[in-house]
Protein backbone atom coordinates (compact mmCIF):
# COMPACT_ATOMS: atom_id res chain seq x y z
CA UNK A 1 0.00 0.00 0.00
CA UNK A 2 2.83 2.40 0.78
CA UNK A 3 4.50 1.82 -2.56
CA UNK A 4 2.75 4.54 -4.52
CA UNK A 5 -0.80 3.25 -4.18
CA UNK A 6 -2.22 6.12 -2.11
CA UNK A 7 -1.64 9.79 -2.83
CA UNK A 8 -2.04 13.15 -1.05
CA UNK A 9 -5.57 14.51 -0.89
CA UNK A 10 -7.20 11.17 -1.64
CA UNK A 11 -9.98 9.51 0.32
CA UNK A 12 -8.71 6.03 1.11
CA UNK A 13 -10.49 3.23 2.95
CA UNK A 14 -9.30 -0.21 3.91
CA UNK A 15 -11.02 -3.17 5.48
CA UNK A 16 -8.36 -3.23 8.17
CA UNK A 17 -7.97 -1.07 11.25
CA UNK A 18 -4.44 -0.07 10.31
CA UNK A 19 -5.54 1.50 7.03
CA UNK A 20 -4.82 4.81 8.75
CA UNK A 21 -1.19 4.20 7.76
CA UNK A 22 -1.70 5.88 4.39
CA UNK A 23 -2.31 9.21 6.13
CA UNK A 24 1.47 9.50 6.05
CA UNK A 25 1.07 10.63 2.44
CA UNK A 26 -1.47 13.36 3.24
CA UNK A 27 -4.45 11.21 2.32
CA UNK A 28 -7.54 10.85 4.51
CA UNK A 29 -7.21 7.13 5.08
CA UNK A 30 -9.21 5.07 7.52
CA UNK A 31 -10.41 1.58 8.32
CA UNK A 32 -13.94 0.42 7.58
CA UNK A 33 -15.83 -2.74 8.40
CA UNK A 34 -16.19 -5.51 5.83
CA UNK A 35 -19.86 -4.73 5.21
CA UNK A 36 -18.99 -1.04 4.69
CA UNK A 37 -16.34 -2.20 2.25
CA UNK A 38 -18.87 -4.30 0.36
CA UNK A 39 -21.16 -1.25 0.07
CA UNK A 40 -18.20 0.84 -1.15
CA UNK A 41 -17.47 -1.80 -3.81
CA UNK A 42 -21.08 -1.51 -4.92
CA UNK A 43 -21.42 2.30 -4.75
CA UNK A 44 -17.90 3.69 -5.12
CA UNK A 45 -18.62 6.16 -2.34
CA UNK A 46 -19.43 6.37 1.37
CA UNK A 47 -20.21 8.86 4.12
CA UNK A 48 -18.01 10.25 6.85
CA UNK A 49 -18.45 12.38 9.91
CA UNK A 50 -15.57 14.86 9.59
CA UNK A 51 -13.40 14.33 12.68
CA UNK A 52 -12.07 16.90 15.09
CA UNK A 53 -8.29 17.00 15.05
CA UNK A 54 -5.56 16.76 17.66
CA UNK A 55 -2.47 18.70 16.59
CA UNK A 56 0.66 16.81 17.60
CA UNK A 57 3.42 19.32 17.06
CA UNK A 58 6.80 17.62 16.98
CA UNK A 59 9.80 19.82 17.68
CA UNK A 60 13.49 19.08 18.03
CA UNK A 61 15.37 16.01 16.90
CA UNK A 62 15.27 12.43 18.15
CA UNK A 63 18.24 11.08 20.11
CA UNK A 64 20.18 8.46 18.14
CA UNK A 65 18.84 5.61 20.30
CA UNK A 66 15.21 6.50 19.49
CA UNK A 67 13.05 6.10 16.44
CA UNK A 68 9.51 6.86 15.27
CA UNK A 69 8.18 3.87 17.22
CA UNK A 70 9.29 5.47 20.47
CA UNK A 71 7.45 8.66 19.50
CA UNK A 72 4.23 6.85 18.74
CA UNK A 73 4.35 4.67 21.87
CA UNK A 74 4.90 7.81 23.94
CA UNK A 75 2.15 9.77 22.17
CA UNK A 76 -0.29 6.86 22.47
CA UNK A 77 0.48 6.61 26.16
CA UNK A 78 -0.10 10.33 26.56
CA UNK A 79 -3.43 10.32 24.72
CA UNK A 80 -4.61 7.01 26.17
CA UNK A 81 -6.17 4.04 24.42
CA UNK A 82 -9.51 5.82 23.91
CA UNK A 83 -8.38 9.43 24.20
CA UNK A 84 -8.31 9.90 20.44
CA UNK A 85 -11.64 8.25 19.65
CA UNK A 86 -12.96 9.43 16.28
CA UNK A 87 -10.40 12.21 16.13
CA UNK A 88 -7.73 12.75 13.51
CA UNK A 89 -4.11 13.12 14.61
CA UNK A 90 -2.20 15.69 12.58
CA UNK A 91 1.55 15.59 12.93
CA UNK A 92 3.05 19.04 12.37
CA UNK A 93 6.17 21.01 13.26
CA UNK A 94 9.82 20.89 12.28
CA UNK A 95 10.22 17.51 13.96
CA UNK A 96 7.51 16.05 11.72
CA UNK A 97 9.04 17.58 8.61
CA UNK A 98 12.39 15.98 9.50
CA UNK A 99 10.93 12.45 9.71
CA UNK A 100 11.50 10.01 6.86
CA UNK A 101 8.55 8.46 5.08
CA UNK A 102 9.18 5.19 6.94
CA UNK A 103 8.92 7.03 10.25
CA UNK A 104 5.75 8.84 9.17
CA UNK A 105 4.17 5.52 8.19
CA UNK A 106 4.97 4.11 11.64
CA UNK A 107 3.34 7.09 13.35
CA UNK A 108 0.18 7.07 11.21
CA UNK A 109 -0.07 3.28 11.45
CA UNK A 110 -0.66 3.46 15.19
CA UNK A 111 -3.22 6.30 15.16
CA UNK A 112 -5.93 3.69 15.71
CA UNK A 113 -4.21 2.53 18.92
CA UNK A 114 -5.59 5.60 20.73
CA UNK A 115 -8.93 5.21 18.95
CA UNK A 116 -8.20 7.86 16.31
CA UNK A 117 -9.96 7.85 12.96
CA UNK A 118 -6.66 8.45 11.20
CA UNK A 119 -3.23 10.04 11.45
CA UNK A 120 -1.98 12.53 8.88
CA UNK A 121 1.15 14.27 7.69
CA UNK A 122 1.06 17.18 5.26
CA UNK A 123 2.64 16.23 1.94
CA UNK A 124 5.97 18.01 1.63
CA UNK A 125 9.33 17.64 -0.11
CA UNK A 126 9.93 14.26 1.56
CA UNK A 127 6.55 13.03 0.28
CA UNK A 128 7.28 14.36 -3.21
CA UNK A 129 10.66 12.64 -3.37
CA UNK A 130 9.29 9.37 -2.01
CA UNK A 131 6.34 9.20 -4.41
CA UNK A 132 8.51 10.25 -7.36
CA UNK A 133 10.19 6.83 -7.03
CA UNK A 134 6.84 5.35 -8.04
CA UNK A 135 6.26 7.78 -10.90
CA UNK A 136 3.94 10.19 -9.11
CA UNK A 137 4.30 13.98 -9.26
CA UNK A 138 2.31 15.45 -6.40
CA UNK A 139 1.56 18.90 -4.99
CA UNK A 140 2.63 19.88 -1.50
CA UNK A 141 0.00 20.49 1.17
CA UNK A 142 0.69 23.52 3.35
CA UNK A 143 -0.84 23.65 6.85
CA UNK A 144 -3.31 26.43 7.57
CA UNK A 145 -4.05 28.12 10.87
CA UNK A 146 -6.71 25.54 11.72
CA UNK A 147 -8.87 24.99 14.80
CA UNK A 148 -7.78 21.94 16.76
CA UNK A 149 -9.63 20.24 19.60
CA UNK A 150 -6.36 19.64 21.39
CA UNK A 151 -2.77 20.76 21.10
CA UNK A 152 -0.17 18.17 22.05
CA UNK A 153 3.37 19.49 21.74
CA UNK A 154 6.10 16.85 21.85
CA UNK A 155 9.79 17.68 22.17
CA UNK A 156 11.60 14.87 20.39
CA UNK A 157 14.89 15.67 22.09
CA UNK A 158 13.30 14.50 25.39
CA UNK A 159 12.38 11.13 23.91
CA UNK A 160 13.77 7.88 25.27
CA UNK A 161 13.31 4.27 24.14
CA UNK A 162 9.99 3.02 25.49
CA UNK A 163 8.09 -0.25 25.71
CA UNK A 164 4.43 -1.07 25.69
CA UNK A 165 3.75 -3.82 28.20
CA UNK A 166 1.40 -6.81 27.94
CA UNK A 167 -1.57 -6.92 27.53
CA UNK A 168 -3.22 -3.59 27.15
CA UNK A 169 -0.57 -1.50 25.52
CA UNK A 170 -0.41 1.83 27.10
CA UNK A 171 -1.21 1.64 30.77
CA UNK A 172 2.07 1.84 32.55
CA UNK A 173 2.62 4.78 34.87
CA UNK A 174 4.77 7.47 33.26
CA UNK A 175 8.47 7.06 33.61
CA UNK A 176 8.00 3.70 35.34
CA UNK A 177 10.75 1.30 34.47
CA UNK A 178 10.65 -2.40 33.77
CA UNK A 179 12.44 -4.06 36.66
CA UNK A 180 15.53 -5.81 35.47
CA UNK A 181 15.69 -7.45 32.10
CA UNK A 182 12.83 -9.93 31.50
CA UNK A 183 14.11 -12.95 29.52
CA UNK A 184 12.65 -13.44 26.06
CA UNK A 185 11.58 -16.56 24.17
CA UNK A 186 11.21 -14.69 20.90
CA UNK A 187 11.80 -11.41 19.11
CA UNK A 188 9.72 -10.49 16.07
CA UNK A 189 10.62 -7.67 13.70
CA UNK A 190 8.18 -6.72 10.98
CA UNK A 191 4.52 -5.79 10.31
CA UNK A 192 2.80 -2.73 8.86
CA UNK A 193 4.28 -0.78 11.78
CA UNK A 194 7.97 -1.62 11.42
CA UNK A 195 8.57 -3.97 8.48
CA UNK A 196 9.96 -1.45 6.02
CA UNK A 197 13.40 -1.45 4.44
CA UNK A 198 14.76 1.20 6.81
CA UNK A 199 13.64 -0.98 9.73
CA UNK A 200 15.37 -4.08 8.38
CA UNK A 201 18.49 -2.05 7.62
CA UNK A 202 18.56 -0.61 11.14
CA UNK A 203 18.10 -4.07 12.64
CA UNK A 204 20.83 -5.55 10.42
CA UNK A 205 23.22 -2.76 11.34
CA UNK A 206 22.90 -3.63 15.04
CA UNK A 207 23.10 -7.44 14.75
CA UNK A 208 25.75 -7.45 12.00
CA UNK A 209 28.55 -9.87 12.82
CA UNK A 210 26.90 -10.97 16.07
CA UNK A 211 24.53 -13.75 17.05
CA UNK A 212 21.06 -13.44 18.52
CA UNK A 213 20.48 -15.12 21.88
CA UNK A 214 16.82 -16.05 21.39
CA UNK A 215 14.51 -17.16 18.59
CA UNK A 216 14.25 -14.16 16.26
CA UNK A 217 11.88 -13.82 13.33
CA UNK A 218 12.21 -11.06 10.76
CA UNK A 219 9.47 -10.50 8.20
CA UNK A 220 9.62 -7.79 5.51
CA UNK A 221 6.32 -5.96 5.06
CA UNK A 222 6.24 -6.44 1.29
CA UNK A 223 7.83 -8.33 -1.55
CA UNK A 224 9.53 -5.14 -2.80
CA UNK A 225 11.10 -4.59 0.62
CA UNK A 226 12.25 -8.21 0.75
CA UNK A 227 13.80 -7.90 -2.71
CA UNK A 228 15.61 -4.67 -1.85
CA UNK A 229 16.89 -6.17 1.42
CA UNK A 230 18.06 -9.27 -0.45
CA UNK A 231 19.89 -7.24 -3.07
CA UNK A 232 21.54 -4.89 -0.55
CA UNK A 233 22.83 -7.70 1.67
CA UNK A 234 20.66 -6.69 4.62
CA UNK A 235 18.82 -10.04 4.62
CA UNK A 236 22.10 -11.96 4.47
CA UNK A 237 23.36 -10.13 7.56
CA UNK A 238 20.12 -10.82 9.41
CA UNK A 239 20.25 -14.52 8.53
CA UNK A 240 23.95 -14.76 9.42
CA UNK A 241 23.09 -13.39 12.88
CA UNK A 242 20.86 -16.42 13.48
CA UNK A 243 17.48 -14.89 12.64
CA UNK A 244 14.82 -16.59 10.54
CA UNK A 245 13.30 -14.60 7.69
CA UNK A 246 9.68 -15.25 6.75
CA UNK A 247 7.69 -14.45 3.63
CA UNK A 248 6.42 -10.86 3.35
CA UNK A 249 3.19 -9.87 5.06
CA UNK A 250 1.78 -9.71 8.56
CA UNK A 251 3.70 -12.66 9.98
CA UNK A 252 2.56 -13.86 13.42
CA UNK A 253 1.16 -10.44 14.45
CA UNK A 254 -2.47 -11.48 14.22
CA UNK A 255 -1.83 -14.90 15.73
CA UNK A 256 -2.42 -17.08 12.70
CA UNK A 257 0.94 -18.51 11.66
CA UNK A 258 4.70 -18.13 11.31
CA UNK A 259 5.85 -17.45 14.85
CA UNK A 260 2.82 -17.47 17.12
CA UNK A 261 3.80 -17.83 20.78
CA UNK A 262 3.24 -20.84 22.99
CA UNK A 263 1.66 -20.85 26.44
CA UNK A 264 3.47 -18.59 28.86
CA UNK A 265 6.08 -17.48 26.35
CA UNK A 266 7.43 -13.95 26.43
CA UNK A 267 8.28 -11.97 23.32
CA UNK A 268 9.22 -8.54 22.10
CA UNK A 269 7.59 -7.43 18.88
CA UNK A 270 7.81 -4.34 16.68
CA UNK A 271 4.08 -4.61 15.89
CA UNK A 272 1.34 -2.25 17.00
CA UNK A 273 -0.81 -4.37 19.31
CA UNK A 274 -0.14 -6.64 22.25
CA UNK A 275 -3.64 -7.51 23.31
CA UNK A 276 -4.10 -10.73 25.24
CA UNK A 277 -4.46 -13.83 23.05
CA UNK A 278 -3.47 -11.98 19.85
CA UNK A 279 0.02 -13.21 18.89
CA UNK A 280 -0.31 -16.22 21.15
CA UNK A 281 -2.87 -17.61 23.53
CA UNK A 282 -2.63 -19.13 27.00
CA UNK A 283 -0.93 -16.30 28.82
CA UNK A 284 1.71 -15.50 26.23
CA UNK A 285 3.08 -12.04 26.84
CA UNK A 286 4.51 -9.71 24.29
CA UNK A 287 6.05 -6.32 24.67
CA UNK A 288 6.10 -3.74 21.89
CA UNK A 289 9.14 -1.67 21.11
CA UNK A 290 11.30 -0.12 18.44
CA UNK A 291 13.50 -1.95 15.95
CA UNK A 292 16.65 -0.88 17.83
CA UNK A 293 15.15 -2.16 21.09
CA UNK A 294 14.25 -5.43 19.36
CA UNK A 295 17.78 -5.81 17.99
CA UNK A 296 19.50 -5.07 21.30
CA UNK A 297 17.09 -7.41 23.11
CA UNK A 298 17.54 -10.21 20.57
CA UNK A 299 21.31 -10.09 21.06
CA UNK A 300 20.91 -10.33 24.84
CA UNK A 301 17.94 -12.72 24.89
CA UNK A 302 16.25 -10.39 27.34
CA UNK A 303 14.58 -6.99 27.23
CA UNK A 304 17.27 -4.40 26.92
CA UNK A 305 17.25 -0.82 25.74
CA UNK A 306 19.27 0.07 22.62
CA UNK A 307 21.91 1.44 24.97
CA UNK A 308 21.94 -1.68 27.12
CA UNK A 309 19.89 -0.24 29.99
CA UNK A 310 16.49 -0.86 31.49
CA UNK A 311 13.41 0.24 29.60
CA UNK A 312 10.82 2.92 30.21
CA UNK A 313 7.16 2.09 29.79
CA UNK A 314 4.87 4.25 27.74
CA UNK A 315 1.62 5.44 29.19
CA UNK A 316 -0.20 7.87 31.40
CA UNK A 317 -1.45 7.19 34.92
CA UNK A 318 -4.00 4.40 35.04
CA UNK A 319 -7.57 5.73 35.35
CA UNK A 320 -9.32 3.36 37.73
CA UNK A 321 -12.27 5.53 38.67
CA UNK A 322 -13.40 9.00 39.66
CA UNK A 323 -14.90 8.30 43.08
CA UNK A 324 -11.77 7.45 45.03
CA UNK A 325 -11.27 8.09 48.73
CA UNK A 326 -8.05 7.84 50.66
CA UNK A 327 -8.89 4.39 52.07
CA UNK A 328 -9.19 3.16 48.53
CA UNK A 329 -5.80 4.61 47.67
CA UNK A 330 -4.18 2.82 50.58
CA UNK A 331 -6.22 0.79 53.05
CA UNK A 332 -5.99 1.70 56.72
CA UNK A 333 -4.64 -1.76 57.60
CA UNK A 334 -1.36 -0.83 55.92
CA UNK A 335 -0.93 2.47 57.70
CA UNK A 336 0.84 0.94 60.67
CA UNK A 337 4.03 1.68 58.85
CA UNK A 338 5.34 4.87 57.30
CA UNK A 339 7.44 2.86 54.89
CA UNK A 340 6.04 4.06 51.56
CA UNK A 341 7.56 1.10 49.73
CA UNK A 342 5.14 -1.10 51.72
CA UNK A 343 2.27 1.18 50.74
CA UNK A 344 3.36 0.91 47.11
CA UNK A 345 2.89 -2.86 47.30
CA UNK A 346 -0.75 -2.41 48.31
CA UNK A 347 -1.84 0.76 46.52
CA UNK A 348 -5.47 0.58 45.27
CA UNK A 349 -5.51 -3.05 46.41
CA UNK A 350 -9.21 -3.09 47.29
CA UNK A 351 -10.12 -1.74 43.87
CA UNK A 352 -7.76 -3.80 41.76
CA UNK A 353 -5.39 -6.23 43.46
CA UNK A 354 -3.46 -6.69 40.22
CA UNK A 355 -2.55 -3.02 39.94
CA UNK A 356 0.32 -2.82 42.38
CA UNK A 357 2.12 -5.91 41.05
CA UNK A 358 1.82 -4.42 37.58
Amino acid sequence: MSEGRALPGEVVVGADSHSCTMGAFGAFSTGVGATDMAAIWAEGSTWFRVPETINIELTGRLPACCEAKDIVLTVTGEIGMDGGTYRALEYTGDGAAALSMAGRLTLCNMAIECGAKTGLFYADKTTQEYLAQYGHRIERQDPEDATYCRELPVDLSDMEPVLSVPHRGYRGPPGHRVCGHPPLDQVFVGTCTNGRYEDLERFAHIVRGKEVACRTIVIPASRAIMQKAAESGVLAEIIAAGCMVGPPGCGPCLGMHMGVLGEGEVALSTANRNFKNRMGVGGAEYYLGSVATAAASALKGEITSPEGGIMTLSGPAVCIGTDIDTDLVIAGRYLRTKDTSVWAEHVFEDLDPTLAPR
Binding site: L7, V11, V13, E43, G44, E52, T53, T147, R223, P248
Partner: protein, 97 residues
Protein backbone atom coordinates in the same frame (compact mmCIF):
# COMPACT_ATOMS: atom_id res chain seq x y z
CA UNK B 1 -8.99 27.74 7.88
CA UNK B 2 -9.13 23.96 7.86
CA UNK B 3 -7.40 20.94 9.23
CA UNK B 4 -6.13 18.52 6.61
CA UNK B 5 -9.06 16.16 7.26
CA UNK B 6 -11.55 19.02 6.78
CA UNK B 7 -9.83 20.04 3.56
CA UNK B 8 -9.83 16.53 2.08
CA UNK B 9 -13.34 15.60 3.19
CA UNK B 10 -14.74 19.01 2.25
CA UNK B 11 -16.62 19.97 5.40
CA UNK B 12 -16.08 21.35 8.91
CA UNK B 13 -15.42 19.03 11.86
CA UNK B 14 -18.65 17.47 13.05
CA UNK B 15 -20.41 17.66 9.68
CA UNK B 16 -21.46 14.64 7.62
CA UNK B 17 -20.21 14.34 4.06
CA UNK B 18 -20.68 11.91 1.18
CA UNK B 19 -17.47 11.29 -0.68
CA UNK B 20 -16.31 9.22 -3.60
CA UNK B 21 -13.66 6.80 -2.44
CA UNK B 22 -10.38 7.12 -4.34
CA UNK B 23 -8.88 3.83 -3.13
CA UNK B 24 -10.42 0.87 -1.37
CA UNK B 25 -8.18 -1.85 0.04
CA UNK B 26 -9.12 -5.21 1.49
CA UNK B 27 -6.99 -8.19 2.42
CA UNK B 28 -7.26 -11.95 2.30
CA UNK B 29 -9.00 -12.00 5.69
CA UNK B 30 -11.56 -9.21 5.53
CA UNK B 31 -11.83 -9.32 1.73
CA UNK B 32 -12.22 -13.04 1.33
CA UNK B 33 -14.22 -14.15 4.28
CA UNK B 34 -16.32 -11.11 5.07
CA UNK B 35 -16.57 -8.39 2.42
CA UNK B 36 -17.08 -10.84 -0.45
CA UNK B 37 -19.91 -12.58 1.40
CA UNK B 38 -21.50 -9.27 2.40
CA UNK B 39 -21.24 -8.03 -1.19
CA UNK B 40 -23.00 -11.13 -2.48
CA UNK B 41 -25.76 -10.79 0.10
CA UNK B 42 -26.24 -7.19 -1.05
CA UNK B 43 -26.92 -8.60 -4.50
CA UNK B 44 -23.73 -7.11 -5.93
CA UNK B 45 -22.77 -10.03 -8.17
CA UNK B 46 -19.43 -8.76 -9.49
CA UNK B 47 -20.53 -5.41 -10.88
CA UNK B 48 -18.75 -2.91 -8.67
CA UNK B 49 -19.16 0.82 -9.31
CA UNK B 50 -15.45 1.56 -9.85
CA UNK B 51 -13.42 -1.66 -9.77
CA UNK B 52 -10.21 0.10 -10.80
CA UNK B 53 -10.13 1.78 -7.36
CA UNK B 54 -10.32 -1.52 -5.48
CA UNK B 55 -7.26 -3.50 -4.40
CA UNK B 56 -7.11 -6.86 -2.69
CA UNK B 57 -3.78 -7.57 -1.00
CA UNK B 58 -2.87 -11.03 0.27
CA UNK B 59 -0.83 -10.49 3.40
CA UNK B 60 -2.61 -11.71 6.53
CA UNK B 61 -2.35 -15.46 6.01
CA UNK B 62 -0.24 -15.62 2.90
CA UNK B 63 0.86 -18.11 1.74
CA UNK B 64 -2.14 -19.99 3.08
CA UNK B 65 -1.63 -21.98 6.29
CA UNK B 66 -4.37 -24.60 5.76
CA UNK B 67 -6.38 -26.07 2.91
CA UNK B 68 -9.41 -24.20 4.23
CA UNK B 69 -7.58 -20.86 3.99
CA UNK B 70 -6.24 -21.79 0.58
CA UNK B 71 -9.74 -22.53 -0.67
CA UNK B 72 -11.01 -19.15 0.55
CA UNK B 73 -8.08 -17.43 -1.14
CA UNK B 74 -8.81 -19.35 -4.34
CA UNK B 75 -12.42 -18.20 -4.21
CA UNK B 76 -11.40 -14.56 -3.63
CA UNK B 77 -8.94 -14.72 -6.55
CA UNK B 78 -11.75 -15.74 -8.88
CA UNK B 79 -14.10 -13.15 -7.42
CA UNK B 80 -11.53 -10.33 -7.74
CA UNK B 81 -10.79 -11.30 -11.35
CA UNK B 82 -14.49 -11.32 -12.25
CA UNK B 83 -15.01 -7.97 -10.50
CA UNK B 84 -12.01 -6.35 -12.16
CA UNK B 85 -10.18 -5.64 -8.88
CA UNK B 86 -6.40 -5.29 -8.64
CA UNK B 87 -5.11 -8.33 -6.76
CA UNK B 88 -1.69 -8.45 -5.13
CA UNK B 89 -1.08 -12.15 -4.63
CA UNK B 90 1.74 -14.09 -2.98
CA UNK B 91 4.97 -13.21 -4.75
CA UNK B 92 3.44 -10.45 -6.83
CA UNK B 93 5.03 -7.01 -6.73
CA UNK B 94 2.85 -4.19 -5.47
CA UNK B 95 1.08 -2.63 -8.45
CA UNK B 96 1.33 1.13 -8.91
CA UNK B 97 -1.61 3.00 -10.30
Amino acid sequence: MSTLSERILGGPAGSYVDRDVDRAFAHDGTGGVLAMEAYRKMGGNPKPARPETVSIIYDHIAPANTSHTASLQKELRAFAAAAGFVLTDVGVASATS
